[in-house]
């Protein structure tokens, strides 16, 4: 341990390795993170849930591909949409899949959406000191068949709500959703079942409008939007083209 302590003590005074490669910058500094952009939205209804994400994958000012899905079906009733650093997002998806498989073996049933919500939070916090750079929205039907949306930050703090957006277009979309969907005080009578009075098709239309708006001003949102609708009949998928500039 002594040599380790010595190394730590000398840390600040250690020789800076002069670059032996003939490059002009001093030591390449690379970042383990990248932002591959994108926006995710979800809206929960009385008996449905709509989750949507754009299909553009970027890096810096370049577009890598126009047709990349940010939506992942984890269970029959639960869908995860994530934007941020794509490698972390994919790794997180695989992690949850593996955990879900184990759960199914142990419990002979699929995980419920609230259970998956907690698992996602724990998985994210597990890497609190080297986070998954992943901005998630989890959507699905809860145990009573009502729509539920869970929204997360990169280290796992989460909340169930009636609607949410995450990602590069979040600040453009969230105010629009608030305007259309935010319920009055919960003390208002008659009591409301869910915070979304919209029908399923109205919710889908609202999502299409918000993405079209976000694509106008957010450079990382565009190319196309993928919309997944979960209701008691099952899971259905729609796509819509967005501006490619």
């Amino acid at each position: 341990m002594r040599s380790w302590k010595l190394a730590k003590m000398s840390m600040v005074f250690a020789p800076r390795l002069a670059e032996s490669a003939p490059t002009s910058h001093v030591g390449a500094s690379w970042s383990p993170y990248d932002n591959n952009g994108g926006t995710c939205v979800a809206i929960a209804g009385a008996d449905y849930c709509v989750i949507a994400a754009d299909t553009r994958m970027s890096t810096g000012f370049s577009i890598l591909t126009r047709d990349y899905s940010k939506i992942h079906h984890i269970t029959e009733k639960c869908v995860l949409a994530s934007s941020g650093f794509q490698a972390d997002v994919r790794s997180l998806q695989k992690n949850l899949d593996a955990r879900h498989q184990i759960y199914q073996h142990q419990h002979s049933k699929q995980m419920s959406c609230p259970a998956m919500a907690q698992l996602l939070s724990n998985t994210l916090y597990y890497k609190r000191f080297f986070p998954y750079y992943s901005f998630n929205v989890l959507g699905g039907l809860d145990n009573e068949g009502k729509g539920c949306v869970y929204t997360y930050d990169a280290v796992g703090s989460y909340e169930r709500s009636g609607y949410s957006s995450q990602g590069s277009g979040q600040t453009l979309i969230m105010p629009v959703l608030d305007n259309q969907l935010k319920s009055a005080s919960p003390l208002v009578l008659p009591p409301r079942e869910s915070s979304t009075p919209l029908t399923e098709s109205e919710a889908v239309d609202l999502i299409k409008d918000t993405f079209a708006s976000a694509a106008e001003r957010d450079i990382y949102t565009g190319d196309g939007v993928e919309i997944v609708i979960i209701n008691k009949e099952g899971i259905r998928r729609e796509t819509m083209a967005l501006k490619r500039d």
Binding site: A7, A14, P15, T59, L64
Partner: protein
């Protein structure tokens, strides 16, 4: 004296120690710690690339996948090596091309050789296809990134299996995707726009090769690390064929080049 069980490495002497200058580093980046630690123990962290390859391009055509790259190995701003193989057949239906650090690419090909042999030894009638290799390499690159010790490459993986064509990319931090046409490095800026304009479904081998050569020519004109010695690889269900290196016809007989300072008063 208790020995440290933290890292089982051998302290090494640094051959060029007389070249290192001593600076006070008032930063708290974990990367600085790792770099300075590597002066005392042989822990390789982060690093920087030394001999590098520039763009690799790929596209899907009717018969399979075409991937192309030049054969330059740059050492910073010098073109140090001019006959570097930047594409290698992984199996008889998959090809790997790489930009970035050449030695890391060679380490990856050695790793894949062992993987393919181990898979073939099962002799179970099923071999790893391009998608499997792509997923495997994604995990390799991502896991190295997690250890702050990346393989400094952007890889392009193409192949055909059971009639399904696959073309994908993996970056040094694990960012990966699949598309009909792919480029790395400068190719993202110069070649992809050409592909987006001119690529179409079911191109013939001739059309695909011409499109790749068009993009490579633009790269030769505009990417200073590119040279005019390229190889084009054709991957089909039947096998991988990498062409011998050849040159593209380039045009330099332009007025502006003949007398570049004609309109600049005071220049010579």
């Amino acid at each position: 004296m208790r020995s440290s069980k933290l890292i089982s490495v051998v302290p090494r002497t640094l051959p060029e120690s007389h070249l290192y200058s001593f600076h006070f580093i008032p930063t708290l980046r974990s990367i600085d710690f790792f770099q300075s630690l590597s002066a005392y123990v042989a822990v390789s962290m982060s690093r920087q690339p030394y001999v590098t390859g520039t763009s690799v391009l790929g596209l899907i055509y009717e018969g399979g996948v075409l991937i192309a790259a030049d054969t330059a190995g740059s050492y910073g701003s010098t073109t140090r090596f001019k006959s570097v193989e930047r594409m290698k057949a992984v199996s008889n239906n998959t090809l790997l091309g790489a930009s970035g650090e050449i030695s890391d690419f060679q380490a990856i090909t050695q790793l894949l050789d062992r993987l393919i042999v181990a898979d073939a030894m099962w002799d179970d009638g099923n071999d790893l296809g391009p998608l499997d290799i792509h997923n495997y390499l994604t995990r390799v690159m991502y896991n190295r990134r997690n250890k702050f010790d990346p393989l400094w490459n952007t890889l392009i993986l193409g192949g055909v299996k059971n009639g399904v064509k696959h073309l994908g990319s993996v970056s040094m931090i694990g960012v990966h995707y699949v598309d009909n046409h792919i480029a790395t490095g400068f190719g993202i800026h110069l070649a992809q726009p050409i592909f987006r304009e001119e690529w179409k479904e079911n191109m013939t081998l001739e059309e695909g090769t011409r499109l790749l050569e068009k993009a490579l020519l633009v790269l030769f004109y505009r990417d200073r690390s590119a040279i005019n010695k390229i190889q084009v690889a054709n991957v089909t269900e039947d096998g991988v064929h990498i062409s011998q290196p050849y040159a593209l016809k380039s045009e330099w007989n332009l007025e502006a080049f003949k007398n570049p300072t004609a309109s600049a008063a005071g220049s010579w």
